[in-house]
Structures are given as structure tokens and as C-alpha cells.
Amino acid sequence: MFIGFFLALRAAGVKASLREFLTLQEAMQAGLGDYDLDTFYFLSRATLVKDEKFIDKFDKVFAECFKGVLASKPEAAPGVEIQPLPEEWLKMLAEKNLTDEEKAEIEAMGGFEKLMETLRNRLEEQKGRHEGGSKWIGTAGTSPFGAHGYNPERVRIGQDKGRQRSAVKVWDRREFRNLAADVEIGTRNMKLALRRLRRFAREGAAEELDLPGTIGSTARNAGFLDLKMVPERHNAVKLLLLLDIGGSMDDHIALSEQLFSAAKGEFKHLVHLYFHNCPYETLWKDARFRSADAMATEDVLHTYDRSWKLIFIGDAAMSPYELLQPGGGISSWNTQSGQDWLRRMILAFPKSVWINPVAEKHWNYTQTTKIIREMMENRMYGLTLEGLDAAMHRLMH
């Protein structure tokens, strides 16, 4: 049963294993599926998805595979064996949730199928409005959780019983979209990304004496001293952060700063410096570019040794001459080109990555982004959870 659904999930990149699929079968046999599509949705989600970042993908596949069931058109979902339940189920649902006038209106609109379609369209419109709309304080609440959000005038579903959540097709609303790993980081999943940084913050082992271990093992050893060592737990990673706050970074700067200011607590050795579009002979300790805060790049190269890990955060987008020509810098006259400075830094810090907040699909349209990516030997990653994960992995290995 549901083999097509399972294969579609795997094809979509949800890491569900055979074991989990068999667990689902077991659960169905134990009667947990209850022959109710909602329950089946929840059950299969709890069984097959083990990380909230996959729930969105799961929802999409589910909608695709079972849209046939809902519209009672079996041929729409190839490979899925369909239970002969939808007709009664939908009718029951309508009985339960709609008033007589509403039912009449549904008939007028062209039946239940039409209603579902309308509902889905409305939800899509709604979503679009939310994303575009202002979320600033004081404006009329545009919370996507708001009850009115899913209550397009006529299609009132289970309102009085407070069962709206499960009334129709939870998966089509895709409420877990924010948690998917390949969307760009918003404030919501910023924390998750930070936790990923902590993983490598815990590594960087050194050896120290394990006192309880030594006592225990000495006791076991009938009193002969037996020294035990354990890896040191606190963080030994040294991080040098270079942040671009050039004009084109305005959209991203809050995001990148927030990310790493929060990371600050994690890293005992964290130095962050700013540059404008491209690093030249001077870097700044403060984003206001005051001369008192300036630090010669030469000094940076000499102060921090190879064991420091270097992370650039920038969009790598500038006019080609800013990168390639001496004197191309926009803030001061540089005798060496930005490319030269960049090369020296990459050589000085073998462990370096470039994190680019611009979506990866746009990188190839900017000449300098392409050049810098080549200089970094492809160690350029998007500012997404997946990108960060890969970047951190690269820094550690």
C-alpha cells in the first residue's frame, strides 16, 4: 500500500527509510489510520518525517499524491492504491461543517470539487498578501495564524467546533514552509542555524585530565593509579569574520549581523571586521568606517595565524574594476587590486569560506561573484540552513 507515495517522498528528498515505511504499514494494520484522510496524514507524517525541515516537502508530495483521493479521480495519482472512501467522507465533512444555505451555495458554485478549488485559490491569495503585506507593529494584524485568515467569507469550515485546523487539507496550507531547510533564513529559523554553528564549536579537541574517570579506573584497578584523559569540552575554534556592508548588502546586513552577533556568545575567539564591497588594504572594526576603528589588512594577516578560520559574508557583487583594478576601491585609493588582497587572505587562511546572502541561482549573473567563487575554489555558500551547514562542514574538514 502507498508504495507510490513512499517512492514519491524519497524522490522529493524526504529521507524516509524502508523501516519507517514498514512502521507505517504496521500502524495502519493496528487500525491507527482510522480510514480518515486527516488521521492518515498525521500518522504518516509522524512516521515518515523526522525533521521539521522536511514537513513542507512532505506536505507537497502528500497533496500531489492524494489530490486524486479528494477529487475522487483515481487516475490522477498513479501508483497509489486508493481507498473507495472519498465520496462519503466528503459528504460527511460537508454535513458536519456547512449550513444548509452554504450547501446550496456550493451547489451553485459547481459542487464540492469547485469549492475545494476555490478554497485552495483563496489560500494562495491569502499567502501572497501576507508575504507582501507589512508586518510592522501597529498595523492591522496580518498574522497567518489568524482565524479570519482561513475563513474566506463563504467557506466556513468547522468554525463553531474549533476544529478548523483539521477540517480540510492541512497539508495544502503548508504551514511548515518556514522550516524547510533550503529557504532563506528568516528570524524564525535563525536560531536553528545558530545551533548548527555550535556543533563545530564543540569540537576542536584537546586533552585534559578526567578526574572522576581516573578515580573510578584506579579503584577498579585495585588502587594502582590509572590516568584517564578526556577531550576538552570548551570551544577552541577561532573565527575571523569579514562582513561586507556595501550598498548592495543593505538588504542582507541585518540578517548576517544578527546571525553572528548571536553566535558571539558561542565563540571565545571571534573577531569581526567590516569591509565595503571588497576587502582592500584597510578593514574596520566598526560599521561606521571611522579612521579610529581602522585596521590595516596587513596587520590582520600577521595578527591572526593559520589556525583561524575565515568567513566572508558578502554578496560579492560589485563593478568588475572594484575587484580587478588598482585604485578601483570606492572609499579610498588602493595601490593593489581587491583581487590581490583577496588572494593574500585566502592564502593566509587555508580554512575559509564565503557566505553569500544572495540566492545561489543569481550568482552566475554577476561577473565578480563568479570570479570570487572561482578564487574561493567553490567554497561559496548561500545564507540558508543548508548552505551554512555545508560551509561549517567545509571549515571543519
Partner: protein, 281 residues
């Protein structure tokens, strides 16, 4: 088999109920994730209450080892006893200290075992418990005995996402992500905690609360438990709905915001917004 349908003091959404009942029926661990303050830890207590089973909690810290959940061999006591010539020393069983899993396995009535914040522990921790959670048995090397669960306990595991859990471990669990309650669920939650609360106040408080959560740039967004605390304060101070509704500059920060905003940067953010608002208006 008893089914979990939520309790008087806990509002369970349908998807949560399905996940809990699946875990109970198939006797597999249930992994719960979600924002802090959405009731992950409370859930275990409530499941235990609803099913009429005792609860055994095992709170994990960064120094917790998997072995500690099974048993520990207190070698130091034994060494001391041997030096004092205590007769107990000849039986190694006297120095085996039972862990939470042992207790759960030995219990006559299958309990609910809560493994709280499993992600706090070392990365190897979940892997070290794979077999034990799978077969519900383990071997005590010192006494050469096998401890086998008399009845498989209901195991609820919570995680705050600080570390990724290994795939092999995840494959053996059911998973549920408690998402932040929407407005309707929140109304039900409030009804459970403060029955008969003035609906006008509640409505304004909910609006203010969800607006606050939507504010971009907030470092720590207030959770359900903080919202409940705030409501309690509002009622204790007898603040009326009209105060919450007022949107003038001075009132941009909700009253008694200390219960909601726990971070001075967030409070500062609000103050700056209020300032801009005053200047703009």
C-alpha cells in the same frame, strides 16, 4: 489500550493525539520537538495522567552519559568498603546503582518514561541507547544479568534542536513537531488555564501578543507559557482591555511587558520603535 485525547489541563491538537496514540500502540519512542514553551515536557506528564501510568523523568544535561540511564557501578564506594573490611564488598550487586531506564523496565505497571532534552547530551548519546530502546533490554556486565522490560514503557523524548540526532535513532521513533499554537488553539489553552476569563480582555491580549510575535528582529519571541504568565499579571493588576487596545505612541509597548520580553535588546528595540513612532506621529 487507553487512548490519549488530551486532558483537562492540556490542549492536544489532533496531529499530536495521532502521534501519541501511534507511539503508545506500537510501543515505539515518540520524539517531540518545537519552540521552547510549547509544552514539550508537560506533555509526558499529561500522557501519564491520561493513561493512568506513573511518570519517570530523566532530565539530560551536557554531562549525562547513556550508561547512567542504565546503571552505574559505584567503584569508589566499593574500594572504600574494602578498606574498611565491610562484608558488603563481596557482592558486586551492592554497588550497582539503577538508572532511570532500569527503573522503567522493572516497573510492574509500564510507566511513561520522559527523556527530556536529549540534544543537550553528547552527540553519541542517542546512538548509545539505540539497542536498549529498540529491544527494551540491556546487559549488566558486572553481575552478568540481563534486564528486560516487563512491560514496554511509553517513551517520550524531547529535543530543542541544539544538535542533530543520528538517523538510525530517528528511524526508530515517531516524530512530532509542536508548532506554535494558532489563535483558536491558544483560546482553548487559555480557557483551560483561566476558565471564564473576560473575553474582551482575552481578545485584545491575543491580538497584542500575536502582533508582538510577528515583530521582525525580535531575539526571543514570547512563548505560550510566557503569554499565560502575562495574562495572569494582567488580571492581577486589573488592566482593562481598553488599555491594550490603545495604540498611541506611549502605549506602543504593552503593559507589564517584562513577562513577555526577556531580553534587554528586545525591550530596547521596542523603545526605539516607540520613539520613532512618536517622532513620526
Amino acid at each position: 489500550m487507553a487512548r490519549f485525547e488530551g486532558t483537562k489541563s492540556f490542549v492536544a491538537t489532533d496531529d499530536l493525539k495521532v502521534a501519541v496514540n501511534a507511539a503508545v500502540a506500537l510501543q515505539r519512542p515518540l520524539l517531540i520537538k518545537g519552540e521552547p514553551g510549547t509544552g514539550k515536557t508537560v506533555l509526558a506528564q499529561e500522557v501519564a495522567n491520561a493513561l493512568g501510568k506513573p511518570l519517570i523523568s530523566w532530565h539530560i544535561k551536557s554531562t549525562t552519559k547513556a550508561q547512567q540511564g542504565l546503571y552505574e557501578y559505584d567503584a569508589v564506594s566499593r574500594l572504600r568498603d574494602s578498606q574498611l573490611g565491610d562484608a558488603r564488598v563481596h557482592d558486586i550487586g551492592n554497588y550497582i546503582i539503577h538508572g532511570k531506564l532500569w527503573d522503567a523496565f522493572e516497573a510492574e505497571d509500564a510507566p511513561v518514561l520522559l527523556i527530556d532534552e536529549i540534544d543537550k547530551a553528547d552527540i553519541e548519546f542517542p546512538n548509545d541507547l539505540l539497542l536498549e530502546l529498540d529491544r527494551m533490554e540491556f546487559f549488566v556486565y558486572e553481575t552478568r544479568q540481563t534486564i528486560k522490560a516487563k512491560q514496554r514503557p511509553v517513551i517520550i523524548i524531547t529535543s530543542n534542536n541544539e544538535k542533530e540526532l543520528p538517523d538510525a535513532f530517528l528511524r526508530r521513533c515517531f516524530f512530532h513537531y509542536i508548532k506554535f499554537p494558532d489563535r483558536e488553539t491558544m483560546e482553548r489553552i487559555v480557557e483551560v488555564h483561566y476558565p471564564g476569563m473576560k473575553s474582551l480582555l482575552l481578545r485584545e491580549a491575543l491580538t497584542a501578543f500575536y502582533e508582538l510575535r510577528e515583530l521582525p528582529g525580535l531575539k526571543k519571541r514570547p512563548s505560550t507559557s510566557e503569554f499565560l504568565d502575562w495574562l495572569k499579571l494582567l488580571m492581577a493588576e486589573d488592566i482593562g482591555p481598553e488599555v491594550l487596545k490603545e495604540k498611541s505612541a506611549a502605549k506602543l509597548i504593552p503593559p507589564l511587558h517584562g513577562a513577555l520580553l526577556k531580553n534587554e535588546q528586545d525591550v530596547h528595540l521596542f523603545e526605539r520603535l516607540a520613539f520613532l513612532h512618536r517622532r513620526g506621529g
